[in-house]
Amino acid sequence: MNDKETGLTAENTFGGMLRSQLLATVAVAVIAFVISGINASLSAVAGGLSVVLAAFIASKMAVSKRKDAASVLGSMLKAELIKIFLIILFLYIAIKGLDNKLVPLALIVGLAAAAIISGATISKRSKQLKI
């Protein structure tokens, strides 16, 4: 059973990951809005979107055209490096941009939710494969 038969291509997996991260960010933003108002909601969105945007750009770079293991791994690690740099850049911009309106806890929770939820995608994919 290969990835064409199961539909578990790298692009599908990345799409599922980004959807999960966006949903987590929106959920945290709504909860932050209910608990603490618009500034907390904006902070949560800034934290979550930093991860989602960086993961989106990195996922475009992660797919290797060559199919040998070393080049696949090389392109993955390069994409991950760029992802980390982009997250640091976006977080810096968010922290400087929001300045006095920043709610630190909401920013960190939004960031953490988006960063951790990508792991949920792998269990969903494994269920499709029934492994």
């Binding site: 934290g47 992660a62 980390i84 960190i108 960031l111 990508s118 995608t121």
Partner: protein, 84 residues
């Protein structure tokens, strides 16, 4: 005030440093397993590619969160605000 800044700087260094060390160990383990699996079953490489990227994100999550907290303390330190 200076003491708070100094201890915050040490804390930021520890957060990023220990987080990066842990993430590197995890990524090293996973990459060696990926190469092992790819050598045994090369036809599984395209499917493993997506999973490797997801797991890279998962392993890096703790490091990314630590970097986020460190950036917050570096550029908008709430402890200094409490002092002021």
């Amino acid at each position: 005030m200076e003491m708070v800044q100094a201890y915050t700087a040490i804390g930021i260094g520890l957060m990023v440093g220990i987080g990066a060390a842990g993430a590197c160990i995890g990524i090293g383990n996973m990459c060696s397993s990926f190469l092992d699996g790819a050598a045994r079953q090369p036809e599984m490489i395209p499917e493993l590619q997506g999973k490797v990227f997801l797991l890279l994100g998962l392993i890096d999550a703790s490091f990314i969160i630590a970097v986020g907290v460190a950036l917050l303390f570096a550029f908008a330190n709430p402890l200094l605000g409490a002092l002021a």
